[in-house]
Symmetry: C2
Subunit: 298 residues, 2 copies
DNA sequence: ACTACTTACGTATGTCGTAAAGATT
DNA sequence: AATCTTTACGACATACGTAAGTAGT
């Protein structure tokens, strides 16, 4: 990046950008950018980290007041994480006009806060009473719409696929596909299991459930789909959430667990077995022999 | 409040304040303040709610960069919640010059973020992997320094004081003293027990542990002191936390549970009995007959 | 009539653009 | 030499203060 480039993007001249940076650096008493080539200093990178949430909140505040002044006309804009999309689609039965948009877990609260979306349906793992991440961006209504046991997707010929149910700890050393956008990131799996392991193998960066399951079937790894507790559904203070106080209970959660099998018409996905998983606590991990885990993976 | 008063506080004239408000209202397209008398409108109150965290982050960013530019000289400034204060005092043994300041759980992260404190020791209840509230204000080092079973303080002559240990559900209908600054707020107790109850009785707004226990002894209610898991100790990125990577393990937690009994020299507080409490899960509450709880309370 | 907020206007400060100078590759 | 940033200076916009105007109490 360069001052000239930034100026072009902002509609300013290079001089103005230079003056801004100089003024800010003088104000803070720290050099923020190294020039020629232009790159953030340590202090500059730090400041940048602060800037993003602040700007996000400013945008959220402006959007909130604008919505307060003039309620938005048009269809209800619903966003959902990949595994909650089916539940969101089910909402369309009640709501005639409805816009659906699939995004990241992290992006969803942002979009709702900035009034880019009216309602968000997100899945994920959460303790009974902890707040959803991103919920503190702006005052928003949050409610839990379902709870479901966790499931894992395995290749059909996986040694552990023969069992009806598994413990997460058994899979600590399996070959996982890290698909942070679709299922839980590996880091969270480690936290949930209270154990090390869950080595980083193939990463699936997309948000496509079908694609991920295809990768599992081919044998790139054993991947777990979310479950345990239904994702909260953050909504705007006025709007969607109020109009749908009681959506189908468990809607989001059913879709989440079903996305692997039932989401495509309840016929088993080719080459994929879906098994329920009990989330291991640290104690459970310590007392359970992890020998069998090593046999796993295609 | 009045425009004139605000102007006096800001060092401006009434006119300037009037112009600012008018410009902001024109920008947002909403009336923010009702005049004569001056009071926030609904939109104004909403905007105010957004303003506080934004201003806090701005202050935190400025403080962080200032600290980065010129590390603060002088003694280590440590803050602590009332029940973690004893552990903080124990730090003084290692650190020759040390400033100690007792505050609220909510205030502590703010003070650390704005570089008003170098290190914060706070107690409280938390699930194994959830982040501490206030920790997202600024990038700060957080670590858990102890874990301890929960305890409840009862009057000596309380019917339940005869038992060596109690379940939180048993106390759902007891007469509690709500001391949100010292122990867990009643709302959190409800969440932890997964049950209704915990009726609001006397409120103890202070931060004085001894005073609270005196109130318990006199019989104003049955009050629980914190426990379960040690409070995390948020520290600045550079400074205290790095210099004390391994504080006495369990320091904060020991002090927290001990604040009722051991904190005053390990002699039992006059008229107060301290009993350990198991935190009830929703399931435990449903299956446990709550009849006995009704007998409790002095 | 008194008090408090609003509006009008003059001044000061700040911001941006143009243009020239300086620095780096 | 070419490219990019900094500095200098003039034009414009913004912000504040003074003072007059207006609206509640």
């Amino acid at each position: 990046m360069s001052f000239s480039g930034a100026a072009a993007e902002l509609g300013y001249t290079q001089s103005a950008v230079s003056q801004h940076i100089a003024a800010l650096e003088a104000d803070l008493g720290v050099r923020l950018l190294e020039r020629r080539p232009v790159a953030p200093t340590v202090a500059g990178a730090r400041l940048l980290a602060y800037a993003e949430p602040i700007l996000l909140r400013l945008a959220a505040a402006r959007a909130d007041l604008a919505r307060l002044a003039a309620p938005r006309p048009g269809p209800l804009r619903v966003g959902a994480t990949p595994l909650a999309a089916a539940a969101a689609a089910r909402l369309a039965a009640d709501e005639p006009a409805l816009t659906l948009c699939v995004t990241t877990r992290a992006d969803l609260p942002r979009r709702v806060a900035t009034d880019d979306l009216d309602l968000g349906l997100l899945d994920g793992y959460a303790a009974p009473n902890d707040p959803l991440p991103g919920t503190d961006l702006a005052p928003m209504d949050v409610s839990v719409h379902g709870e479901q046991p966790a499931v894992v997707a395995l290749p059909r010929d996986h040694p552990l696929a023969a069992r009806p149910a598994l413990a997460l700890a058994d899979l600590a050393l399996a070959r996982w596909i890290d698909a942070p956008q679709v299922a839980a990131p590996l880091a969270q799996l480690r936290a949930l299991a209270g154990a090390e392991g869950f080595p980083a193998g193939v990463t699936y960066p997309g948000t496509d459930v079908a694609g991920l399951l295809a990768a599992v079937a081919v044998g790139h790894g054993a991947r777990r789909a979310p479950g345990r507790r239904g994702g909260g559904a953050p909504g705007p203070r006025r709007g969607g959430a109020d109009r749908h106080p009681r959506g189908a209970p468990g809607g989001a959660a059913e879709a989440r667990a079903g996305a692997a099998v039932a989401g495509t018409g309840r016929r088993p996905w080719t080459g994929v077995a879906v098994r329920s998983v009990t989330l291991g606590t640290p104690a459970a991990v310590d007392h359970r022999p992890p020998a069998e885990a090593r046999t796993g993976t295609p």
